[in-house]
Every structure is written in structure tokens, then in C-alpha cells.
């Protein structure tokens, strides 16, 4: 549990007001874990701008008692993963929609809903556990709030090789919706699953996913956050990664007044791999765009490899934030840690704020990090135009090539293609 912090009145008041506006779920197998999470939250309080990891992102709208409304985007685009054969699980403003969802049975998987799950043994040991561990050394109060107050989610146990991805589809239909979902994914040794997520979810959306990877297990996660301009989201992925397991997560963020994506990856085994990547594109012309990736990778095992690849394209005063840490614990020898965060600023008003951190307590490791921000290369732009490529198309080509390193983190070519198509359409509208 996190050490109690000095509590300002504002922090205590905000926390009390937020909790007062919530109806906390009662009973069920998660009751003890939820009570613990609530105690954690009350001890640390909701975040304020004064917290070290909230300096660049104002949490006010995420911690307020009520969600600010967000207009529902009338989206003419087909579903991003529509061409991919997958098992669909649909939530509308955070409420499970059975009619829109597929049958939840699939070979190699056991799927249940958090809201109506009985006493599932494996889930009982997991719910809130990785979140609680992830509170050290940096507090993540909105994740504790999630564990305490989530109204629904899915519990996925992966027992073998799964034939198709599972997609969590988050529809946003009501202007003022405020949703909290909590998912658990437990992957047995050598088992393998791909989880897709798409959609805005709600006007204000708080998600947490705890992923427990057994030895030699693999987890592929590709997420496309909804493009509704006014939506606000805070997401958390907590992973525990055992020996020789592979964790790969990619997130595409397009639009959104506020997005905070936290990934807390604990590599506990040896010879494991953990990659987390993101591509974000935002144009703050008519609605603000503020996108924040906060990543914490801990190496406890030996011979492990981690990669963080984040790219942001910012326009008209948009803001991008990257806070990424690689922590190499004593004894985690032969660690190969890599981190890159880059922003392409399409004008002088946009800004990129980066806080890359390395903390290394082992001597035989290879860790590197880099962070850059800059404009489109004028020389390259002129070269393309001199060959007849129109300005907007030339810019789009260069922007896509800039994002290429992040997209390359997606292993499946079909999924990477779907992501690229989405980006191309966005760029065609925005450049």
C-alpha cells in the first residue's frame, strides 16, 4: 500500500465529493478487494496538479464529482476492427449490451462479466491486486478509485491458444455518461490471446485492466480510443509478466479533450518481453486536445527486454505528455530497456512535455532513452512537392512515416493496416 501523503483540504474535499457522487457496488467476490481499494484511495486522496506525475496534466475534470458532458460523435466511419474476425463484447456508456455482443464462449477462453460473476477463484486472487502493487512507488489514485467503484468489466481467463481476438467495444451514446470499467485477464502458461479495444466509452471514462501473464504466455493488446472530441478518459493497464512471457500493447489516440493512459508493467520473470507503444494525433483547433502517456516499467528478472515507443502529432495548440520510466531492480542483470518519445509539432502553438526517467540498480544492463520534438522536415516536404505530391498529401506521408515506428510495434499486419487506414483518414481530414 502506498504511503499516506500529506492531505490538503482540496484533496480531501475532492475525494469526498467524488465518492459521494458514486454508488459503490456492494457484496460479491470482489467486496474485500473493493474495500481495500477504497481504503487506499482514502489514504492517498485523488490527484491534484501539485502531484509530481500530474504536473503536466490537470486532473480536475477526471476527479470532479460529475462528468462534463461530451457530444456524441456521429461517426460515419466503419468500425475500426470491422474487417477482423473477432469476438465482440459491447458496452454502451459503460453498461454491458448483451444483444450487441457475441456469445461469450470461445475455445481456449473463459469469459465472464464482472457484474454478475459468481465466486471465481482465479479472479478473487487477482482483482485489485496488480493495481495495489502498482501504487508503489508512484500513487495512482484514479486506479484505486476504479477498483473500488467499477460497475462492470470482463474477466477473461485464457487457457490455451485462442483462434481469434476478443474486442471490447465501448460505445458512447449519452452526452453526460460517466463510466468505470475494470477488466481482468489471466493468461495461463503458454497460452496466448489478443485483446482489442475501441471506442470512447463514455463522456468520462475510467478503465483499468489487470493482466497476469504466466510463463511463456503472450498478450497482444491493440486499442483505438474513441474520436469524440470532448470525451475524457483515464486508462490503466497493470501487467505482471512471468518468465519468457510476451506482453505487447499499442494504443491509437485520435482526438479527445483529455486522455491519460497509464501502463504499469512489472517484469517479474526472466527472459520476458514487454513492449508498450502509442500513436496520438490531435488538433486543438476547436476543442482542446491533451494526451498523456504515463508508463512505468519495472525489471525484476534477468535477460528481459522492454520497449516504449511513443509518437505524437500535435496541431493548433494541442498538448502531448510523456512520462516514462524504466526501473531496473537490483539483480535484474542483462536487462535491455529502450524508450523513445517523439512529437511532431505541426505549428508553433502545440507543445510536448516529456519526462523520461531511468533508475538502474544493476550493473550489467543496456538501457537507453530519447525524447525529441520538432517540426515537419521542410526539405523533405519540398522534395515530395517538387515531384508533384500536393502539400496535404506530402504532409500526410511524412506524418505517417513519423508514426511508423509506433505502428511497427503491432505484430499483426491486418490490425496494423486497420490502424494505418484510420490514421490516413484522420490526416486527410485534418491536414
Amino acid at each position: 500500500m502506498a504511503a499516506p501523503r500529506p492531505r490538503s483540504d482540496l484533496r480531501a474535499e475532492t475525494t469526498a465529493a467524488r465518492l459521494a457522487a458514486l454508488e459503490l457496488p456492494q457484496g460479491g467476490f470482489t467486496a474485500p478487494a473493493r474495500a481495500d481499494a477504497l481504503a487506499r484511495l482514502q489514504a492517498m486522496g485523488l490527484p491534484t496538479r501539485r502531484d509530481e506525475y500530474w504536473k503536466y496534466t490537470d486532473p480536475t475534470t477526471l476527479t470532479a464529482a460529475d462528468a462534463s458532458p461530451a457530444a456524441v460523435l456521429v461517426d460515419a466511419e466503419p468500425p475500426v476492427f470491422g474487417a477482423i474476425d473477432r469476438l465482440k463484447i459491447v458496452f454502451v456508456d459503460g453498461v454491458f449490451d448483451a444483444a450487441a455482443s457475441d456469445d461469450l464462449s470461445l475455445e481456449g477462453l473463459e469469459i465472464s462479466r464482472l457484474a454478475d460473476a459468481g465466486d471465481i477463484h482465479w479472479a478473487q486472487g487477482l482483482y485489485g491486486t496488480l493495481e495495489a502493487q502498482g501504487q508503489i512507488p508512484v500513487a495512482r489514485p484514479l486506479a484505486a478509485l476504479n477498483s473500488a467503484a467499477a460497475t462492470d468489466g470482463v474477466l477473461i481467463r485464457v487457457t490455451g491458444r485462442v483462434s481469434k481476438p476478443v474486442e471490447l467495444i465501448y460505445r458512447h451514446m449519452s452526452e453526460a455518461s460517466d463510466a468505470i470499467l475494470h477488466h481482468l485477464v489471466k493468461i495461463d502458461p503458454q497460452a496466448d490471446v489478443t485483446i482489442l479495444e475501441s471506442g470512447p466509452g463514455a463522456a468520462r471514462f475510467n478503465t483499468a485492466m489487470e493482466v497476469d501473464l504466466g510463463a511463456k504466455a503472450s498478450f497482444h493488446h491493440i486499442r483505438v480510443q474513441g474520436s469524440d472530441h470532448h470525451r475524457r478518459a483515464v486508462t490503466h493497464v497493470f501487467a505482471r509478466i512471468a518468465s519468457e512471457a510476451t506482453f505487447k500493447s499499442f494504443t491509437l489516440t485520435m482526438n479527445g479533450a483529455l486522455t491519460r493512459n497509464e501502463a504499469v508493467l512489472d517484469i517479474v520473470g526472466d527472459h520476458a518481453t514487454a513492449h508498450v507503444a502509442g500513436a496520438a494525433v490531435g488538433d486543438a483547433k476547436s476543442v482542446p486536445f491533451h494526451q498523456d502517456d504515463t508508463v512505468f516499467v519495472t525489471h525484476a528478472g534477468t535477460h528481459c527486454e522492454s520497449r516504449q515507443v511513443f509518437k505524437k502529432v500535435l496541431k493548433n495548440g494541442a498538448t502531448g505528455v510523456f512520462q516514462g520510466k524504466i526501473l531496473v531492480k537490483p539483480g535484474a542483470q542483462k536487462t535491455d530497456g529502450y524508450q523513445i518519445s517523439q512529437a511532431l509539432l505541426l505549428d508553433g502553438d502545440s507543445q510536448f512535455l516529456a519526462k523520461p526517467e531511468l533508475e538502474i540498480y544493476a550493473d550489467d544492463v543496456k538501457c537507453s532513452h530519447g525524447s525529441t520534438s520538432g517540426a515537419i522536415d521542410d526539405t523533405a516536404l519540398f522534395y515530395l512537392r517538387s515531384r508533384g505530391v500536393p502539400l496535404a498529401e506530402a504532409q500526410a506521408l511524412l506524418v505517417l512515416s513519423f508514426l511508423g515506428d509506433a505502428i511497427a510495434e503491432i505484430e499483426d499486419a491486418g490490425i496494423a493496416g486497420a490502424i494505418t487506414d484510420r490514421l490516413e483518414a484522420w490526416l486527410a481530414r485534418r491536414l
Binding site: D377, D378, T379, A380, F382, Y383, L384, R385, S386, R387, G388, V389, P390, L391, E393, A394, L397, L398, L400, S401, F402, G404, D405
Partner: protein, 251 residues
């Protein structure tokens, strides 16, 4: 076809004047060569004609088939038929050479109201051209000019020219960095486009290229002006004696 009249150009950011009244006309079917000392303004002329930013035209005009180039965006100039083979071809990481070529060809076709070429047809055309220029198929898959040798970059410029089939080709020191065999391939590429309807402006320091691409007219540029114009023998004179005598004579 290309008509440059009294062109004066300064740098946008500083008060440095680079072109001080260039007059030059290239007729259809002709090859004009420009020679001249380092820093005399040859590349600047080629950039200004193709629309690179950073320069300010203070006087004069440049028309292609009667249309004012200086009022057009770079891509419009390209669609009008202008092509510049860069002295220093640009590397574009992350953009495949093939994607780049196809985007360019189709963009120009679209601008001219012509149908796009299909991917399959395009692949066939590029492969054939690349073979003529001795460009490896593997190079076509790599990002534009990234990791290409100096000579490979120059050959890639000529490949682009061959695919785009421009009416007015400007070659800025395309011969520099080419080995003897590559020079011949590049010259063959240029000569293949000499069908009497296109114009060529070949910027070079050496007679060697002009042995392969026979010029009709040779100009000497010095300090931002064309100071002397003559036939192919002028290039031989430069090769033999350098610029000192010519410059002294025109002073």
C-alpha cells in the same frame, strides 16, 4: 519553352542577393548546359524555378510554355512538367521509394486529369526503368534515398525523371558521384527522353557528362548572371582553361 527573364533573387532571411538578372531561354528539343564557378548561383536558379522556399524573387519572371512558374506551388510546377534532379537528393526515412514514386506519378496524373496507373502496371513500369538504370529491385523497397550511396541517389533521381516524363528537365550536377558506367546509364536515361518535345537544362562542372549528353547551347554563370553563351566548344574551353580567361574577358 522555358523562358527566364531578368531574374533577381535574394535570400528571404538576409539581404544577400544571389541571382542578379538571369536571362535564359530553353527551346523544346534542346539541351542547354550551365557551367560556372562554385557559388555562382546555379543551384539557386534550379531551386527558385522549382519553388523551394527561403528565396525572394525581387524582379523578373520565369515561364514554362507561357505560364508563370513563379506564381505556382511546387507541385503545380511539377504537374506543369518541370522536374529538378537535385544536386543533393533528400533522404526521407519511413517513406518507401516505391510508395513515393507511385504517389508522385498518380498525383501528377490526377492534376492533369489523367487516370491513375494501377499498382500492378506501375510495378512493371518501375521495374523496367530501374533495370535500365541498373537499380536493384531491393533499393525500390527501401525508404527514399536512405542508406543509398551517392551514385545510387543520383540514379534514383533519374529513375524518378523517367517515371514522371517531365517536359522540362533540370539536372543539377547529376554527374557528381557517378562512376564511369553509371554516368553512361544516366546519360542513356536522359537521351531516351530526348524526343524533340522536351527541354533540358544540365548543370555540370565537367565536360565528361557533356560527352554523353551532347548540349546544343552552353552558358557560363558567374556571380548570379549568365555571362557568356556559346556552343559545345565553350564547355571544352572551360575544361581546358578554367574560368579565369572567360571571366576576365567579360569584365
Amino acid at each position: 519553352m522555358l523562358e527566364i527573364k531578368n531574374l533577381h533573387v535574394k535570400l528571404e532571411e538576409e539581404d544577400k542577393v544571389i541571382l542578379k538578372g538571369v536571362d535564359l531561354t530553353v527551346e523544346a528539343g534542346k539541351v542547354h548546359a550551365i557551367m560556372g564557378p562554385n557559388g555562382s548561383g546555379k543551384s539557386t536558379l534550379s531551386y527558385v524555378l522549382s519553388g523551394r522556399g527561403g528565396y525572394e524573387v525581387t524582379e523578373g519572371s520565369a515561364t514554362l510554355d507561357g505560364a508563370e512558374l513563379l506564381d505556382m506551388e511546387p507541385e503545380e510546377r511539377a504537374a506543369a512538367g518541370l522536374f529538378l534532379a537535385f544536386q543533393y537528393p533528400v533522404e526521407i526515412p519511413g517513406v518507401g521509394n516505391m510508395t513515393f514514386l507511385r504517389t508522385a506519378v498518380n498525383a501528377q496524373r490526377k492534376a492533369r486529369g489523367e487516370p491513375e496507373v494501377s499498382a500492378a502496371e506501375f510495378l512493371k513500369l518501375v521495374r523496367a526503368q530501374a533495370k535500365l538504370l541498373n537499380i536493384d529491385a531491393e533499393m525500390l523497397k527501401r525508404p527514399v534515398n536512405v542508406g543509398f550511396s551517392g551514385g545510387e541517389k543520383k540514379r534514383n533521381e533519374i529513375l524518378q525523371m523517367a517515371m514522371l516524363e517531365p517536359r522540362m528537365c533540370i539536372l543539377d550536377e547529376t554527374d557528381s558521384g557517378l562512376d564511369v558506367d553509371a554516368m553512361r546509364l544516366v546519360a542513356d536515361g536522359v537521351n531516351a527522353l530526348r524526343d524533340g518535345k522536351r527541354g533540358f537544362l544540365v548543370i555540370t562542372h565537367y565536360q565528361r557528362l557533356l560527352d554523353h549528353i551532347k548540349p546544343d547551347v552552353v552558358h557560363i554563370m558567374a556571380d548570379g548572371r549568365i555571362v557568356k553563351t556559346g556552343g559545345p566548344e565553350l564547355a571544352l574551353e572551360v575544361e581546358e582553361n578554367g574560368y579565369t580567361d572567360i571571366l576576365a574577358e567579360v569584365q
